[in-house]
Symmetry: C2
Subunit: 184 residues, 2 copies
């Protein structure tokens, strides 16, 4: 049904193979047969953790994001290692970044954050039954961890204090889950 | 207050200057003074249009997104031209992609979709008082336009049929706006 929208690969070249970013440049045939160029980031995917405490508060991070030169409020998250299972990645990232482990994990949703120029997807998980332990940050990771009530997160989304898409979306999902409106 | 998180630029190089993507590679000082590399996409920013009809339905698009090799359900959206006002961009993109013009425009929110590797932001606008006219698609643009009830969009977010972040977030915002819970 989508033939009138579909683009088909003619050739594909890795044009930038950086320390973190890989950029692919493909020649593609448009639906009308004409050739054009598509450039995009190859990304292994990532996970996002909604770590919900019994008192209704949520585990959050504050992290400096260099491309925008400022600190963002975010949920714990991280890139999937080669061949890593997304849930295992979520458990690893939560423990490394915050020190917390969880007994109860549920898959929430998958989102695509830059469909015009990256193949990245993010798998969102809900983590409950939290116990605090020790953080194991990478040498190059600097971030603050804190707890916030879900109502504060919702206010921060509304006021534009939370603008990171995974955190905006996770906050809206948490509202639905906690209210019992959307079951996992 | 954020000195313990802040990263400072040491140098900056444009390492890939493509047809669409520009990749910057910077050397930065971490909060502990050690140098590291940050690579990121330079992006002009974009706009998203929530075009809401009086009957409660919303104007949507279906578009093939090459990096993920499939069609996505999306709100009308587009890149900001050099020196273009975001609201003017929103009006232009809505008309070009769908043919619609609107008499009533309101700013909704700004989101950041790839804070680890792009400086892109998206400004979301609500458009009401819609009148249909003629589309003016670029030569290389192929997309379907359709109307959907907001309840369907919410179901599609829940079921994972809508996964594009601007569309997930816009749908949640529309629910708040239409219910009168969040005022613009």
């Amino acid at each position: 049904m989508d033939q009138h929208l579909k683009e088909t690969q003619i050739d594909s070249t890795l044009v930038y193979d950086g320390s973190f970013l890989k950029v692919q440049r493909d020649t593609v045939a448009l639906p009308n047969g004409k050739p054009t160029i598509r450039e995009y980031i190859k990304h292994p995917g990532a996970v996002v953790v909604l770590a919900l405490f019994e008192d209704g508060s949520v585990l959050m991070e504050r992290q400096f994001r260099y491309p925008l030169h400022r600190v963002f409020i975010e949920f714990p998250a991280g890139k999937i290692d080669l061949n890593e299972d997304p849930l295992e990645c979520a458990k690893r990232e939560l423990q490394e970044e915050t020190g917390y482990t969880a007994t109860d994990w549920q898959y929430v949703s998958t989102i695509h954050n830059a469909i015009a120029y990256a193949d990245e997807h993010l798998d969102i998980f809900l983590a409950r039954g939290l116990t605090v332990g020790e953080r194991r940050l990478d040498d190059e990771e600097f971030l603050d961890v804190f707890k916030a009530p879900l109502d504060d997160l919702l206010s921060w989304v509304k006021e534009g204090k939370i603008t990171d898409v995974k955190t905006v979306i996770g906050t809206f999902w948490l509202e639905k889950i906690v209210a019992g409106d959307w079951k996992l």
